[in-house]
């Protein structure tokens, strides 16, 4: 277990389900302010990797250090408070609440029961909510019930709910799935913007989108790292082409 300057240091990470190794001895390093895209065929272990980092699944071996703090033993909500935000594959927003309330509830204060009882939205928090809503293109929909948003808007709302927590590492699982072309463009722009203040890990399948946003790309295959490097290198990597890109 090395002491490290990287934001996120994954070393020899393994998780096994009854003998099947979904993630097998994975080592990867994410730097501050980096936008890393993780690609790979279905079943490669990409979502499981995110599950392991955010604590949804418990690792059976290896270590994950975030700002030099070991994450593998922490409870999920503690990992979030450390500064890790996770977006799920299917939009996971609160359908019963309005856009404003979704963001309000995600605001990172008053997370204990007693504090939450007496929490009041003051001007500062209100301003921050509107600021984030602006960033995610939903400034006009603040009082709309979240279930009425379009699929793409729901994805943005979820990103917004994570942004407002001010995470230093943001993990997005297929953020543009189901989006129109225009929405994809907007999302690419959004991601480039938010990357300025934090590191982002994105799992994606849409190669065009990946090319537009990626600094470095990590390719997973059958639970292991197949290749890693800038997009131009990866595109021409023979192993990757054979396993995944295919064209």
């Amino acid at each position: 277990m090395s002491n490290t300057d990287f934001l996120l240091a994954i070393e020899n990470l393994t998780v096994s389900f009854d003998g099947f190794k979904a993630v097998n001895d994975v080592t990867a390093y994410i730097d501050y302010n980096e936008l890393r895209v993780v690609i790979g065929p279905n079943g490669a272990g990409k979502t499981t990797l995110l599950d392991l980092i955010c604590g949804k699944t418990a690792a059976t071996g290896g270590s994950i250090r975030f700002k030099n703090r070991e994450l593998t033993r922490l409870a999920e909500h503690r990992i979030v408070r450390e500064g890790v935000g996770r977006k799920f594959q299917t939009p996971s927003i609160y359908e019963n609440l309005t856009v404003y309330e979704n963001l309000e509830v995600s605001y990172p204060s008053a997370r204990d029961v007693i504090k939450a009882l007496f929490f009041r939205v003051d001007e500062e928090i209100d301003a921050r909510i509107r600021e984030v809503a602006e960033t995610i293109f939903l400034a006009d929909c603040l009082d709309m019930e979240a279930s009425l948003l379009s699929h793409g808007q729901k994805q943005w709302l979820e990103i917004g709910m994570l942004l407002i927590q001010g995470p230093e590492l943001l993990m997005l699982d297929e953020p543009v799935a189901g989006m129109s072309v225009k929405e994809r463009e907007q999302t690419a722009e959004l991601l480039k913007r938010i990357c300025k203040d934090r590191a982002v890990i994105v799992i994606e399948h849409d190669m065009e989108f990946v090319e537009r946003i990626a600094n470095r790309v990590t390719v997973l295959h059958q639970g292991q790292v197949l290749a890693e490097g800038p997009m131009s290198e990866i595109k021409n990597n023979a192993k990757v082409v054979e396993v995944y890109l295919g064209h």
């Binding site: 389900f17 009854d18 979904a22 499981t48 949804k56 699944t57």
Partner: protein, 308 residues
């Protein structure tokens, strides 16, 4: 608690209580099997499950009355017909219930609890209106009464042996049905991946309906068995319903073996404790222990680690 008995006396007590516990175990197991199939398949807890037991019990009672009055020569054989008929009637009623109510509530398990409770009230009142509020008992055939002398100190009642045989046969039948037949394959496929099963051409709605009906049918058989242990009233089903739920949850609802082991341990614990303490304390201690264990291991005794 155990002083004052010699070792062989204790052995005999355990054996006899064990055997009386065995009848209880059989009723638990049959009820739990039915409920576990339904719960494992559809995540539905049917609060009216006890009432399907009552269907089987009242069927047995009616057959006994008819045989007594119109066909006394049939008295020795009616019990086997009662078991079959109890299964069939409970199966049909269960099928209708799933069709008219349960299938609309699959995404809402808590609401299903309430709706099936309502169903149980209606069924209980139906029994009360049809058969009266007082408890009744079928006249058991002669060969069922009496007991078999095993050793000097232990006597095994014959109806106990019949009950065990029927339960064992039914359990084996269910095992073969679920794990060795084509239909069972469909059931397991639907449980594990409903969407894919549907895409592969399995009529998941019909599978659900038949599974639910099967679970209810097994409860009907439990009802016939039940008549050899106790008398039947409109609320007889509610006697065992809490225990049955705990048996299912304790056993993990994921495996047949888990259900069997769970039913056995709970029934035996209660029965043996009953000899040394009062009936109510035996029940309290057993159930509290089960809940305590569940709090430590919420997924039940037997469960498979699954990737979410």
């Amino acid at each position: 608690m155990f002083e004052g008995y010699t070792a062989s006396e204790l052995g005999a007590i355990f054996a006899m209580q064990g055997f009386s516990g065995l009848s209880l175990f059989c009723v638990f197991l049959l009820m739990a099997l039915g409920l576990a199939i339904i719960f494992g398949q559809m995540q539905v807890i049917n609060m009216a499950h006890g009432e399907f037991l009552t269907i089987g019990a009242y069927t047995t009672y009616m057959l006994s009355t008819i045989a007594e009055q119109y066909a006394p020569w049939f008295m020795d054989y009616y019990f086997f017909l009662a078991i079959a008929l109890g299964f069939v009637i409970a199966f049909v009623v269960g099928w209708l219930v799933e069709f008219s109510m349960i299938r609309f509530l699959y995404k809402r398990p808590l609401d299903t609890l309430l709706a099936t409770w309502g169903l149980s009230l209606i069924m209980q009142q139906f029994f009360r209106s049809t058969f009266g509020a007082r408890e009744v008992s079928p006249t058991l055939p002669d060969w069922l009464l009496g007991s078999y002398q095993l050793t000097e100190m232990t006597e095994i009642p014959i109806n106990g042996m019949l009950v065990v045989t029927i339960t064992a046969a039914l359990t084996v039948a269910v095992f073969f049905l679920l794990f060795r037949s084509r239909w069972g394959l469909k059931v397991r496929a639907t449980t594990q991946n409903r969407v894919m099963a549907g895409a592969a051409g399995i009529n998941t709605a019909r599978v659900d309906r038949n599974t639910f009906a099967l679970g209810c049918g097994i409860a009907g058989v439990a009802g016939a068995v039940f008549t050899t242990i106790a008398s039947t009233g409109p609320t007889s089903g509610s006697l065992y319903i809490v225990d049955t739920f705990l048996v299912v949850v304790f056993g993990g609802a994921a495996s047949l073996f888990g259900t069997i082991a769970s039913a056995f341990s709970i029934a035996q614990a209660q029965s043996i404790l009953e000899f040394f303490l009062t009936g109510s304390m035996a029940k309290v201690i057993t159930l509290t222990a089960v809940i305590g264990i569940l709090m430590l291991r919420p997924e039940g005794l037997f469960s498979i680690r699954v990737r979410k």
